[in-house]
């Protein structure tokens, strides 16, 4: 050890501080991510292999909860509902969003105002959306009454209380809330297309519909892809909308995995089963996510 002058020491400290501070700043986030995300996932995974009911038990019992889950009628209803809701929600949102975006891209005078109108539902809570649509779709004094007042006396609309149709009301409300966002994604995509490609197509004599079908829409592929990812994600996680609109009912006819998990884990005291169902949801998200991340990484490598 040599004696260091204070000047020398100061120099050393400032050399070290810029190397240490960045790590110190992100350390709390690091710890919180490890604890609150990754170890929590492991905890839930562990519980899903136990016989936990009202209180967690830690003795591993194998796949018993998963067997219970996959032999549970309500889980299958929930899964089927998610499939029905998810596919309709995604398809309708993408079609509506794309059409609105293409129409808005025709030098519309009131574009700004229209965009604001199409997008505002995205600022609302799903609970608010659910509440409003529950009122609109009310079988006695909602839209049915409106139609009767307008003279359509035979009009009958009871989807909200019809176990076969309840899940479709969720589609209606979900599309209303999210298609404006898809529109915004597509509009941004359209505005990003290189003008010269379209000019070249025009010089080649292509008609307007043909230019859209053959050139513009195919070049929006990445937007389709991210819209698909986002809508998938919204669909799998959808919970609030179903709770507010149908409460999963009538009975459990409009349950989805998210409401299933909540009701088993928190109102029926079946922790193990709730944990198992959330693990399956997690698996589904991963199955969607991994190809997405893979393609993202690959396109980044190509840059």
């Amino acid at each position: 050890m040599t004696f260091q002058t204070s000047e020398n020491l100061k120099t050393k400290i400032s050399y070290m501080s810029d190397r240490l501070l960045p790590k110190l700043v992100v350390a709390p986030t690091f710890v919180s991510t490890i604890v609150f995300v990754y170890s929590f996932i492991l905890w839930t995974a562990w519980i899903s292999f136990t016989k936990s009911r009202l209180l967690p038990r830690y003795k591993l019992e194998g796949l018993i909860q998963y067997i219970k889950l996959f032999t549970n009628d309500r889980w299958w209803v929930a899964s089927k509902n998610l499939f029905v809701f998810g596919s309709l929600f995604i398809i309708i949102c993408i079609i509506t969003g794309l059409l609105l975006a293409i129409f808005l891209d025709q030098k519309i005078r009131i574009e700004g105002a229209l965009r604001t109108i199409f997008l505002y539902p995205m600022a609302l809570s799903f609970i608010v959306t659910g509440t409003v649509w529950k009122w609109i779709l009310n079988p006695s004094i909602g839209i049915a009454k409106l139609m009767h007042d307008m003279g359509f006396l035979s009009f009958h609309f009871d989807w909200l209380v019809n176990s076969d149709m309840a899940i479709y009301t969720v589609v209606i409300a979900g599309v209303w809330q999210s298609s404006g966002f898809v529109m915004a994604l597509f509009l941004a995509g359209l505005r990003g297309i290189d003008d010269s490609i379209i000019k070249a197509a025009q010089i080649d004599g292509a008609s307007l519909p043909r230019i859209y079908l053959k050139i513009i829409i195919p070049s929006l592929r990445p937007v389709f892809f991210s819209a698909l990812m986002i809508l998938c994600h919204i669909a799998i996680k959808s919970f609030d909308l179903i709770v507010a609109l149908t409460g999963g009912g009538p009975g459990y006819s409009s349950d989805v995995p998210a409401t299933f998990m909540y009701s088993f884990a928190f109102t029926r005291g079946r922790l193990g089963l709730g944990a198992a169902s959330s693990m399956v949801m997690f698996g589904a998200v991963l199955a969607i996510l991994i190809p997405y991340l893979y393609s993202e990484l690959r396109s980044r490598d190509n840059e």
Binding site: T11, K12, S14, Y15, D18
Partner: protein, 371 residues
């Protein structure tokens, strides 16, 4: 007094060696230019000198101080960046004084310094503007002002002229050289432009793939390039590299140049160290700069170094002062710099004079110069 000593500096990113054992020494007040193609490691080396990246091994000394492991701010350096890196939220005055304020220099002194630098660079009118309101050339001046205000031991320039248009680049180049003459501070300057390197430098380090190919004065590098790479990199239009074979003729070693139409010319080879027996039949590359090939005139007949060869002109490119004439020698495209009045038209042939006094020979295998 600040000399710069770089000893055996290495830099790795993961498994990739970006710099392999670099050593450079320059004296106080010298203007060093690091030049090379992109990815050669020149900017990394500059960042190491600045302390912006850490050294894998080796030592860097500024003056007498070993700065290898101290922070950039304690190295007494100032740097000018390619993108100028002006702080967007501060006006020009603040930009120039920021470094002084950080160093807790008294206010009146800062003001004096800012005023001095502003007048030196003629940016007094710009002091209250923001970077966004300045043109490229003005930003460049402010960036230099910011460096000058600090009065550091060494200035570092990282491709400072690359973002300017051609005309402004030439103007600023002159100005940087004038500035150096005025302040006399040591400068390390990174560029990929060989003209900047030639015009500005006291010493040039030509880099390639993380090693220094050649380190020397501009004249030295231009006239005695160490390798084909250096010879081709410095000088525009680039040196001609004509593949030849050494033959023996009348007891002397010679190389044969063949133009189209089977015109031939034997050129003597001298100064090679190996024995004639060994050299006979060896393949070499003759390096000859375009300005060393000109229209042959009779007065040169007596000059032992000039050899005549009748060549066919394939293409001409008038540049104004000279016309570049392209021909084919030993099946290699060859550029000649000809006086505009003497250049023949494409398709015609003309007599060229090859001045071999400054020609060089390279070994095609090692790419190094053998004479």
């Amino acid at each position: 007094m600040a000399s710069l000593d770089i000893e055996n500096v290495k830099k790795q990113f993961g498994n990739v060696e970006v710099l392999r054992s670099i050593s450079i020494n320059i004296a106080h007040g010298e203007f060093l230019v690091l030049v090379g193609p992109s990815g050669c490691g020149k900017s990394t080396l500059l960042n190491l000198i600045a302390g912006l990246e850490t050294i894998s091994s080796g030592i860097i000394k500024i003056g007498e101080q070993n700065v290898t492991h101290i922070a950039p701010k304690d190295r007494d350096i100032a740097m000018v960046f390619q993108s100028y890196a002006l702080y967007p939220s501060m006006n020009v005055r603040k930009n120039i004084s920021f470094g002084l304020e950080t160093r807790k220099i008294p206010k009146p002194e800062i003001e004096k310094q800012v005023a001095k630098v502003a007048s030196m660079l003629q940016i007094e009118d710009l002091l209250d503007r923001r970077p966004a309101q300045l043109s490229g050339g003005q930003r460049q001046r402010v960036a230099m002002g910011r460096a000058l205000a600090r009065d550091p031991a060494i200035f570092l320039f990282d491709e400072p002229l690359s973002n300017l248009d051609a005309k402004l680049r030439v103007e600023m180049r002159t100005e940087i050289k004038l500035l150096h003459q005025k302040v006399g501070t040591t400068i390390v300057y990174v560029t990929h432009d060989q003209i900047e390197a030639m015009t500005l430098a006291d010493r040039i380090a030509i880099m390639k793939d993380g090693v220094i190919e050649q380190f020397g004065t501009p004249k030295n590098i231009y006239e005695s390039p160490a390798s084909i790479f250096v010879a081709g990199f410095i000088g525009s239009p680039s040196m001609n590299f004509i593949p030849c074979e050494i033959t023996e003729h009348d007891g002397n070693l010679k190389i044969l140049l063949v133009a189209q139409g089977d015109e031939k010319c034997l050129v003597p080879v001298k100064g090679l160290s190996s024995s004639p027996e060994k050299l006979k039949g060896q393949k070499v590359i003759l390096g000859i700069r375009p300005e060393q090939i000109s229209a042959f005139n009779l007065s040169e007949k007596k000059n032992n170094n000039v050899f005549k060869l009748k060549c066919q002109v394939r293409l001409t490119e008038p540049t104004g002062p000279d016309t570049l004439v392209f021909t084919q020698i030993n099946n290699q495209k060859t550029t000649c710099r000809i006086h505009p009045d003497k250049a023949a038209l494409p398709g015609e042939s003309m007599e060229m004079g090859f001045d071999i006094s400054k020609a060089v020979l390279f070994d095609p295998k090692t790419q190094k110069r053998i004479y």
